[in-house]
């Protein structure tokens, strides 16, 4: 057999074995920003969900079949995400697509999945409004943060914890999702009788946040609410402290919040979020530790709740789809899905026919307690109904 024939046979064999493997497994495609500027808060989700799937397969998979996750890095670039979606749907014949990337990658992936009738699950990425009631039949989301709901919960907390009239500063990053949320918060603050004194929007890469912080501080807010990627939230806060601002700062609890609260050690720095911190020591958190350790996940355990939730949701959805899975069966199973999160959030994650976000969103708030020398919870689960 000459070289060319050998290569042709090997390629045919590889294709054949891939197709056979696909037929014997639940094939799930995933386009994710495993590298690129936002990888720090997105890649841990994928790694942990991958570890969960390995764990699931080691226990016999679903309905006796393994789950095959095909992860493709899109680096947060729309063109790569589109190519990934095309390949995963057209070549790998996935029953379900996941996306964990920046919002600019959504449109091409949504277009591809819609064309093929494949359900698209936003896992750790921003939930698009199409997942909220009335939901798009093919779009689903389990990500902790939710636009408009987060500002509602945050401003309710600020209102409850302020003896004096609230003079609110707002901080966002110059990306559409963050700016939209802070614009919404500005309007909401006015409705709640607070005074929105200043709004600062910082560009994504900025060498020094002090000029932005100076303007925010000069408006003399007693509270600041920031909702953007972590580095933008925390750099603005740190710059404000360095120029002498003494007010309280509330911000979104991204994956690294627990670790960062311990680094910052400032009682005036609060985070609001929907995932329990590992200080709770729940049995399921011990399980997350064990699964992550077995898979040698390189991120701190405190970053992994979101990814584990994705694993739980994926398992429930594929179980509901039965065997053999099809995109239509997966979408039908996901439209009536309820997952017990065992304390990782304030309640179960529930998707219905017209709500693919969750029916109820629960919030907690934490800060650093200097007297105790520990991160403490200052507000327990507060529920917000997610309505049409």
């Amino acid at each position: 057999m000459n070289g060319t024939a050998r290569i042709t046979c090997a390629a045919a064999l590889a294709l054949f074995s891939q197709a056979s493997a696909a037929q014997d497994a639940y094939v799930v495609g995933w386009t994710a920003a495993m590298t690129g500027p936002q990888a720090g808060i997105l890649a841990p989700v994928v790694e942990m969900a991958g570890a969960y799937v390995n764990h699931l397969n080691s226990r016999g998979g679903i309905n006796g079949k393994p789950v095959r996750l095909i992860v493709q890095d899109d680096q947060g670039e729309p063109s790569r995400a589109a190519a990934n979606a095309k390949k995963l749907i057209g070549q790998d014949k996935v029953s379900l697509m996941l996306i964990t990337s920046v919002s600019s990658t959504f449109a091409p992936v949504v277009a591809e999945t819609r064309r093929a009738g494949v359900p698209l699950y936003f896992a750790g990425a921003v939930c698009p409004k199409e997942t909220l009631p009335p939901a798009d039949p093919l779009q689903f989301c389990s990500t902790a943060f939710g636009a408009t709901l987060d500002s509602q919960a945050a401003l309710a907390f600020i209102g409850k914890n302020s003896k004096e009239p609230v003079r609110l500063g707002l901080a966002a990053m110059a990306i559409p999702i963050s700016r939209g949320e802070i614009d919404y918060a500005e309007g909401l603050a006015n409705k709640l009788g607070m005074t929105a004194v200043e709004k600062q929007i910082t560009p994504p890469p900025t060498p020094d946040y002090t000029p932005f912080a100076t303007k925010l501080k000069d408006a003399n807010p007693n509270w600041v609410w920031a909702w953007s990627p972590w580095f933008s939230q925390v750099r603005t806060y740190e710059a404000m402290r360095r120029i002498g601002w003494t007010g309280r700062y509330l911000t979104w609890a991204h994956l690294n919040a627990e670790e960062e609260l311990e680094r910052i050690k400032d009682p005036g720095f609060y985070v609001i979020g929907t995932n329990a911190l590992f200080q709770d020591n729940l049995p399921i958190q011990a399980e997350i530790r064990a699964v992550a350790a077995r898979a040698n996940v390189k991120y701190p355990t405190t970053y992994l709740t979101e990814g584990y939730i994705v694993g739980l949701v994926l398992e429930t959805a594929l179980r509901g789809a039965g065997w053999p899975p099809t995109p239509a069966k997966a979408a039908a199973a996901m439209s009536k899905l309820k997952v017990d999160l065992k304390g990782l959030r304030g309640g179960p994650l529930e998707w219905t026919k017209d709500n693919h976000f969750r029916t109820r969103q629960y919030y907690r708030v934490w800060h650093w307690d200097a007297a105790k020398g520990a991160v403490v919870r200052v507000q327990d689960w507060q529920a917000i109904e997610v309505k049409r």
């Binding site: 590298t35 720090g40 000029p211 303007k215 360095r242 120029i243 002498g244």
Partner: protein, 289 residues
């Protein structure tokens, strides 16, 4: 007063970064588009040495500085030297490839988590009063480092034999070579010094804000300041940085913070229209570009 302090700190950041662009361009006519990545590598160098020399912050800093210098020399020896005889454009493209390679390598080696080298050194970025304003300790270090680096470079270029060789190689490499100056040695030194100053900027920015994947992009943000001042002039780099930083800080404060992203490029465009070779650049040099 706070605005003046903010301008001084931001201008220092830009000037420290620009220094590397100017040194390499002035001596070898190559525009290094890997400067942002080399800057980030310098920051990671400090992160590594801070762990290696735990409890000895000054040793860690010195080691990180030396490492940056050696990396610059190694980049020249391993890559840019091989471009000898090729067009300048080929060398510029090689630096783009180097940047992509370095970004990938750093991702593999250090992951995507934010690192805080200052914490690993055992130091804190405290706030210090300065009249009616406040400035961080890292802010003061930035201004002082910039002053020291530029002062030392002027002294080196005008008062030492190697400095004179470097200027000669920049002005007329053929004549310099005929006079016995070893051009490759001079170019390697220029790359070493440029990477050292860029690395220093990276270390200081990382000490203030941690090492993020956006650090490499900040390297490119300083580029307009170098062009405004004149790409072959160190004085120009200082003045260009001050002009761009002033425009940025004042517009953030008095007009709209969103303008901070576009203002360096707006100043650059205005300069290109009025004086394309920059405030202190040489007209002849730009014609060659």
């Amino acid at each position: 007063m706070q605005l003046a302090v903010n301008i001084a700190v931001l201008a220092s950041i830009y000037a420290l970064i620009c220094c590397g662009y100017v040194l390499i361009y002035r001596v070898s006519r190559v525009l290094s588009l890997a400067h942002g990545e080399l800057m980030m590598l310098g920051a990671y160098g400090l992160y590594v040495t801070a762990s290696l020399f735990s409890g000895q912050p000054l040793v860690a800093l010195a080691a990180a500085g030396a490492l940056a210098l050696l990396v610059g020399i190694a980049v020249y020896v391993a890559l840019i030297w091989r471009m000898t005889g090729e067009s300048v454009l080929a060398a510029v493209l090689a630096t783009i490839a180097l940047g992509i390679l370095l970004r990938g390598a750093m991702l593999v080696a250090f992951g995507t988590q934010t690192q805080y080298p200052l914490r690993d050194l055992g130091w804190q970025n405290v706030s210090l009063p300065l009249g009616s304003a406040s400035v961080s300790a890292v802010g003061i270090a930035l201004v002082a480092s910039t002053a020291l680096v530029y002062g030392a470079l002027f002294a080196f270029l005008h008062g030492t034999r190697w400095g004179m060789r470097m200027r000669a190689a920049g002005q007329n490499p053929l004549l310099a070579a005929q006079r016995g100056i070893r051009l490759h040695g001079v170019y390697a030194l220029a790359w070493g010094l440029a990477t050292f100053t860029g690395g220093l900027a990276g270390m200081l920015i990382a000490s203030d804000a941690g090492i993020e994947s956006t650090l490499a992009v900040i390297g490119l943000k300083a580029f307009p300041a170098a062009l405004v001042g004149g790409l072959d002039s160190l004085v120009g780099a200082l003045v260009g940085s001050l002009v761009v930083a002033s425009a940025e800080v004042l517009l953030i404060h008095y007009v709209d913070p969103l303008l901070s992203e576009v203002v360096p490029f707006f100043v650059l465009l205005a300069m290109l229209v009025v004086r394309p070779w920059g405030l202190f650049g040489t007209r002849e040099e730009l014609d060659r570009v």
